[in-house]
Structures are given as structure tokens and as C-alpha cells.
């Protein structure tokens, strides 16, 4: 029993790392643009399909393919932000942007159905099926590689945010958009690039997700609800919170899964509701997130 629990915890941490990557993108978009990007879930799936196409048609390795899919998703993100999110302003902006991103999600989902059909697929490579035996645990290579990839990308994001001039302007915009604008930060540009980055990480997240799970165009809903639960639990707009909450939630789910596979995901949402009852701002949230 104890051995199963350890295994579940290790799995949870490895998978949680990948969720962390996707959640950081989502919470970053929230922090800078003040929108919940519902389309994030289906964009992960889109990223998975892009990797699938590259691997199946051009025989490009999944990890190598990221060199193509990540910039592609970045461009898609910038275009969506520029065309549909930038024009929105006014009092109902919060809910409007939410619905716009929902509409974008619907369109992408419909297009994916149109091109790829409803059958489930899974990404395949030599390291997806083989596993390694470390310290008595069986670890699939893809989980290990995915975790390392997530670590590298999250570290890169942190460097970008905390060590560069652009990152400073992003953080300034997150703190106070009006003040940031007053000191000469071009917030439209920051918003567009941040949205692009937030979407670009889904390409990597989608590749690992697609290699570890069967997916079809409909899988985005399940993903986005998990990601939303994670970033709210971590505190909206808190990057560290998103990291911690991903690892915590996915590990929790993975452990509960040992006894109650069908109820594991309920525990996931129940944990969210419970935490918010005690701390409405989430684990690492700021007061401002709750205020109107």
C-alpha cells in the first residue's frame, strides 16, 4: 500500500509539473490582461494535434517539433488577442472577454473535429512506451522528459519575468496597468506578447499531455476546468501559486485515484471549494483579486 502511495505521489509530481507549465500561462494571461482564457484548454489540444501532425506526416521527433509548434502557437495567440480581445473595453469587459475566449474555444474545437474527427489519438514515440526503474519506482520516460521540459520552460519564464526589462514591464502591468501606462510602458504590446507567451506554452504542455493521455477535440473542457481550479486555488495572477497548486492538486488526485478512480476528480474540485471557503483569495492570492 505504502509503495503504491509513493508511486502515486511521484507520478503526481511529474504530471503536476506539466500542468504547472500550462497553468502558469493561464495565470500570466489573467494577471496581465485580466481575462480568464477559457480557450487555454482547447489550445493545449491544438498543440497536441500540431505535434501529432508533425510526427505522423513529417516524422519529426516530438520534442524537436516544439521548435515549430511553440512559435506557431505564439503567433496564433498574438493574432487572437489582437483581433478579438484587444477591442473589448467598458464595464462588461470581464464577462465579454470570458465569452470571447469561450467562443474562440468553440471555433477551434469545431475546426479540430472537422480536420481530425472525433476519434481519440495519442502521440507516440520510443520514449512514450518505455520506462525506467529508479529507486524502486517505474517511471515512464515521457513523464521524466516532460517534467524536465516543464522545469526548463518554467525556469525560462521566470528568467524572462524577473531578469529582463520586458519582464519588468509585464510585472508592472500586473501590479497596476494605469500606473504602468503612465510611466511609459506600452501595455497593448505587453498584453499581446503575454497572451502569445501564455498560449505558446500550451504547445509544450499539449505535446506532453498528448503523449501521456488519449485525446480528442473534446478533451479541452476537462483540461480547462482543471487548470482553472488550479489557478484559482493558487490565487489568480500568482505564478508561484500556480506552480504549487498544480503539484498539490495533481498529486492529491493521483493519490485518491488509488482507492477511488471514479471519484478522484471530484476530490480535486471539492478541495478547491473547501480552500476557497477558508481563503477566498486562494492560497497565494492577493486581496485585489477578490475585490471588484
Amino acid at each position: 500500500m505504502a509503495r503504491e502511495i509513493y508511486q502515486a505521489i511521484v507520478d503526481g509530481i511529474l504530471v503536476g509539473g506539466v500542468y504547472a507549465l500550462m497553468a502558469v500561462g493561464l495565470t500570466l494571461i489573467f494577471g496581465v490582461l485580466d481575462i480568464i482564457n477559457i480557450a487555454q484548454g482547447v489550445m493545449v489540444i491544438l498543440g497536441a494535434y500540431l505535434s501529432y501532425e508533425l510526427a505522423a506526416r513529417l516524422h519529426i521527433d516530438l520534442f524537436l517539433g516544439l521548435l515549430v509548434t511553440v512559435p506557431a502557437m505564439f503567433v496564433i495567440g498574438v493574432v487572437i488577442q489582437w483581433a478579438f480581445i484587444r477591442p473589448l473595453r467598458g464595464r462588461e469587459r470581464t464577462s465579454m472577454t470570458l465569452l470571447v475566449s469561450y467562443a474562440v474555444a468553440l471555433i477551434i474545437e469545431g475546426l479540430l473535429y472537422e480536420f481530425f474527427g472525433a476519434n481519440s489519438r495519442q502521440l507516440n514515440a520510443s520514449y512514450v512506451t518505455s520506462s525506467v526503474h529508479v529507486f524502486g519506482f517505474y517511471l515512464s520516460y515521457i513523464y521524466l522528459y516532460g517534467f524536465v521540459l516543464a522545469l526548463v520552460l518554467v525556469a525560462a519564464l521566470f528568467t524572462l519575468l524577473y531578469r529582463t526589462k520586458f519582464g519588468r514591464s509585464v510585472r508592472a502591468t500586473m501590479q497596476d496597468a494605469t500606473a504602468a501606462r503612465l510611466i511609459g510602458i506600452n501595455i497593448s504590446r505587453v498584453a499581446a506578447i503575454t497572451y502569445g507567451i501564455g498560449v505558446a506554452v500550451t504547445a509544450a504542455g499539449g505535446m506532453v499531455f498528448g503523449a501521456t493521455n488519449a485525446f480528442n477535440p473534446n478533451s479541452g473542457y476537462d483540461l480547462i476546468s482543471r487548470l482553472l481550479a488550479i489557478i484559482v486555488l493558487g490565487g489568480l495572477g500568482s505564478i508561484g501559486g500556480a506552480l504549487a497548486a498544480s503539484i498539490f492538486m495533481i498529486t492529491l488526485e493521483s493519490v485518491v485515484d488509488i482507492w477511488q478512480p471514479t471519484w478522484a476528480i471530484v476530490v480535486f474540485y471539492a478541495a478547491l471549494v473547501l480552500v476557497l471557503l477558508i481563503r477566498p483569495t486562494g492560497l497565494f492570492g492577493r486581496k485585489a483579486v477578490r475585490a471588484q
Binding site: D34, T94, G110, T178, V232, T262, W263, I265
Partner: protein, 358 residues
Amino acid sequence: MSEDLIEGRSGLSRLRGLGGLQLAFVVALLAVAVAFPVLFPSPVATNYGVFALIFVAVASAWNLFSGFSGYISLGNAVFFGSGAYALGIAARDWHVTGTAVFALLPLSAAVGALIAVPFGLIALRVRRHTFIVITIAVFFIFQLMAYNFSFTGGTTGLDAPFLPWAPQTYNNPFYYIALGCAVGAIALSWLIRRSRFGLQLRAIRDDEDRARGLGVHAMRVKLSAFVVAGAVTGLVGGVWFFYLGQVEPSSGFDPLFDLSVVLMSFLGGLGTVSGPVLGALIIEPGQLYLTANTNGYISEILLGSLFLVAVLLVPRGIIPTGGEYIRRLTRRGRAAIPAAVPSVPQAPDTAPVQEAQR
């Protein structure tokens, strides 16, 4: 905030009795709705009618909480599905058959209202995005419960008692029940909008902290509206279940349902009484037509595109934008009336969430 409340007050005096023209319009519309199954007796047409009216009712119910209070709920399918399941479980366990099932409809409403109480007590503690996410989370909890419990019938769901009616006129009783629900929901939202309660809700939407400071019991007001919305949505869920004859976890608790009611209200005009009605009458038949005549995915793409276009062209909804247009036409030639409230400076690209940090 003052802008809307002033508008509300003048609206109140204007609506003390509906204007003659408006009254005539409403009566005419109602007459058309009542006569519809006689004019178009084919089951195909009445099927469209039943679904359109069902969505008129649920969109109005959504709007009377979310539209008035500004708390956008993406979890109203919880009430809808629960109402449907409550009816199905009661009919099965109490061995109710035939038309007697209609007597169980109040149960659906009661279940909707009862679920809204704990749901609201948890979710209404948080605002804006967090509220939306909690409603989504609760929605998924309910969908999973429907999948996993045995008394809900699991993946296969439940069947409604069989009605031995002729297929040609099968839809008609449902049409009139749905019409009753729709008229009831519209009347309710009209009454709430012009009442003190409705003003309190809109004060909460504009500035909850200030409303609280002015003596509005925010939690009580929000929860009451949430419960009303839950009751109406639950009731309609029961009707919908009985009409379709079955419910599954994925159809009763459908994320597209949540999205649709929000889209309808937004397209017509959030927070207006007639907006959700118009939105539902446009979107639901359109969606039915597209699903029947295309491969479903196309309808999804078109629905999404329609919404994107609507948001970019008429961001405030058809009713407010159209009303403004008509007012401008009728005022042409008269002296320009200066705006009562100085125009608000354009919000920057990123909305000022951090304003409250001060």
C-alpha cells in the same frame, strides 16, 4: 454607478403601467405565441417552438440573477440537470406514470431552489472571475455525480415515463407548458427589474461595496436572486426531461447549455428583460436548424463565429444598441440633449482590476 440607477428610476416611472404601445406589442406577441401550434401544426415546427421557449425561460432565469447582479454564472446547468434528474428519479422510485408526472414538476423547481442555497452560500462569497470558476467547478462536480452514482443511472441516465400520445400532436401540450414557463420567467424578471429588489441587485452589480455601505444586505439579495433563478431553471429542466423522454449526464449537465444561455443574454442585451428573450429566439432555433442540417461541428464553429461578430459589432447587445439607435432617430431635429453623466474615459486595454488595490 449613478447612471444606471437613474436610468432605472426613470424606467420605473415609465413602466408603472406599460406604455400603451408596449402593452399592445406584448399582447400581440403573446397572441402569436399562443396561436403558433395552430398556425404551424407540423411536429417539426412545434419542436422548434418548444426548444425556443425552454431557452427563453432559462435565459431569462439566468439573466435575472447574473444579468442584474453582474455575477456571471457558468453553472446554471446544475439546476437544469438536477431538475431533470429529480423528476426522473421521483417518477421511477414512486412509480408515477403517464400524465401524472406533470404533477411532479414543482418538485423540479424545489430541487433547483434547494441546490441553489448551498451553491450560492459557497460561490457568492467570491466575486468576478473566481465566482465564474467556482460555478464551473460545481458544475463539473454535479456532472461527475450524475455519472458515478447508481441512483442516477450512471452513463445511461434515466428514461421518462412513456406518454401514449399521437405523434402528430405530441408536442402541443409541451409547447404550452414551455410557453407558461417562459411567460412566467419573463414576468418574474420584469417584476424584479422594476422592484426595489431589482435596484438592489443592480446596485450590487455597479459597486457591491458601496451598495453594502448604503445598507443593501448584499448576500441576502444575491442569494435570493440565485435561488429564484435556480427554481425556474430546475422547473424548466424537468419539462425538458419529460419532453425529450431521457436524460444523460452529458445532456443534463451540458457545458454548452451554460454557454448558450450566456450567449443568448449577451446577444440580446445583458440585464434587460427582453434581451435574453430575443437572444434565445435567435440562437436556439438557429442552433437546432444547424445541428439538423449540418454535421454539428459546423454549427459549433458558426455559433462561436456569430458570437465573435456580435461582440465586436454590438458589444452591448441588440436591445440596448437598437434602443439607442431608435432614440437617436426620434430625437433627430430636436435640440441635442446633453448627456446626464460625463462620459467615462476609455478604459485601457487591460481592465483596471487592480483599481481596488488602492
